[in-house]
């Protein structure tokens, strides 16, 4: 069971990376490659964090944070995923799989929490409308600051709840894990690379000569894998 003293730094960092997704400053601290690495480092195993972050980054390439659409919230979720994967100082078989699973599942739940916050912001904006139509500086400032603060709280709560729920499940899953590391990581890497590859092709295949650029890169990539 995770204690309050352990939970606090994760929640604070989760608030920052969660708010970065939309509210402030959208500097991509919330991308899995950053947030999961931070989560792993804070849990004491940065290698597990970056490994989880790379896999989640491939998966996250599919979801574009386009305005009004509902999409997974990768910031606090990746932090939780990295922390879960790095929870034990020695990387156990299955730890990365479980970290990535927790990351995606939390991102899904986080996406719903973001949707709820946007609805709440709408209610607040509607209430502030008469004052804003009168040109009230105070109304504009308080609406903006309330939204920012609520997003920080939302992300902190998502982080805390996810860690409270997933740490005991993680301990149980890793204690009973039976699949070998090579097989477990192969399935993980293949699934993530497929999501990334499919997403990139969908987004970019309209460019002239697209398949040749992809093929040229793939040939070089495979050569590097063989010689490295």
């Amino acid at each position: 069971m995770i204690g309050a003293a352990q939970l606090l730094p994760f929640s604070l960092l989760g608030a920052l990376v969660g708010a970065d997704v939309v509210s402030f400053p959208q500097a991509m601290l919330s991308r899995p490659i950053v947030a999961a690495t931070l989560g792993g480092a804070l849990a004491g195993n940065v290698a597990a964090g970056v490994l989880t972050g790379a896999v989640l980054e491939m998966v996250a390439m599919e979801t574009l944070p386009v305005g009004a659409s509902r999409y997974p919230e990768w910031g606090s979720a990746s932090l939780v995923g990295g922390a879960i994967a790095g929870w034990h100082p020695v990387m156990r078989p299955g730890a990365i799989n479980h970290g990535v699973f927790v990351g995606i599942a939390t991102a899904w739940a986080g996406g719903w929490s973001m949707y709820a916050l946007r609805r709440l912001n709408g209610v607040w904006a509607e209430r502030a409308l008469p004052a804003m139509e009168a040109g009230s500086r105070r109304a504009v400032m308080s609406l903006q600051l309330r939204g920012l603060t609520a997003d920080l709280f939302r992300a902190a709560i998502v982080t805390a709840i996810a860690l409270l729920v997933w740490t005991p499940i993680n301990d149980y899953a890793l204690a009973h894990w039976t699949v070998g590391r090579a097989a477990a990581h192969s399935i993980l890497a293949a699934a993530a690379a497929a999501v990334a590859g499919g997403a990139i092709w969908r987004q970019s295949h309209g460019a002239a000569g697209s398949k040749w650029y992809l093929l040229a890169g793939a040939v070089l990539g495979v050569v590097l894998v063989i010689v490295a």
Partner: protein, 269 residues
């Protein structure tokens, strides 16, 4: 003197440096109160507000109140390229352009700034930077290098785009639409798409190899030699399947199901 009494000018009106810095800084929180009703509108008002204080009569005057009310109404755009609109709107307000003209400009700019930003940033620059980070990961760079490389590269483009946007908007005022037709902005997404495809081909095999773990994870080499080609084959088949399936079938959900099944099998065995 009210806003409507002041004649539009061709030279940009004076704006203090403190107001310029405040407008630029606030742009990083432009989506702070994003909602489904007014979308980015209150954020635009929040960003423009420091500049609007320099309207005749100051923050207590009717010009300020009218302008702030206008700028907080419905608006939607890509958050980074909203900077173009903010720069142009601040200038228009300080020039005393008619309210109707400003409102028509706001309506007209939503679509172009949204679609250009989505193609340039979300479908171009962000995947490009992610793939550079994955390439560094695949080449066994340290976690610190990977994170700093990604954040440094991405934010160089991000901050430059916001700075370019606000200065272009301010320079051009309500005629800023012509600047959006510049060859770099129009062809940029195409160039980025090709770079992204090349990088995807290069980085994904290396990233797969590192995740499977030839180095550092104590996986025997005979396991690794079998696992890597099988993983590559599985990835290609699954990617082809995901591309052919309708867009509503999202890959991240499929990955979640695959992982859930794997975890359940591993525990239940």
């Amino acid at each position: 003197m009210t806003a409507s009494d002041r004649a539009p000018t061709t030279i940009a009106p004076a704006l203090s440096w403190s107001a310029r810095i405040a407008v630029f800084t606030r742009m990083f929180a432009v989506q702070g109160s994003w909602n489904y009703e007014t979308m980015l509108g209150p954020g635009i008002g929040f960003c423009a507000e420091p500049a609007l204080r320099e309207l005749p009569g100051g923050p207590d005057g009717p010009a300020y109140r009218d302008a702030l009310a206008r700028e907080t109404r419905y608006f939607n755009a890509h958050p980074y390229l909203a900077a173009v609109a903010i720069g142009a709107l601040v200038r228009a307000e300080l020039e005393g352009r008619p309210a109707g003209q400003i409102e028509r400009f706001r309506t007209a700019m939503c679509g172009p700034l949204g679609s250009l930003g989505d193609r340039l940033v979300w479908a171009g620059w962000l995947p490009f930077c992610s793939l550079v980070a994955l390439l560094a990961f695949g080449l066994h760079a340290s976690p610190l290098v990977i994170v700093l490389l990604f954040l440094g590269l991405y934010n160089a483009g991000h901050v430059a785009l916001r700075a370019w946007g606000v200065s272009t908007g301010w320079r051009s005022g309500l005629r800023v639409a012509a600047s959006l037709g510049s060859p770099l902005l129009q062809r940029g997404p195409q160039y980025l798409a090709r770079a992204v495809l090349f990088l995807a081909g290069l980085a994904l095999p290396l990233a797969i190899a590192r995740v499977i773990g030839r180095r550092g994870l104590e996986i025997p080499s005979h396991d690794w030699k079998i696992a890597l080609p099988l993983a590559a084959l599985f990835a290609i088949v699954l990617a082809a399947l995901l591309v052919r399936l309708p867009a509503r079938v999202e890959g991240w959900r499929a990955a979640l199901v695959v992982l859930a099944v794997l975890i359940l099998i591993s525990i239940a065995r």
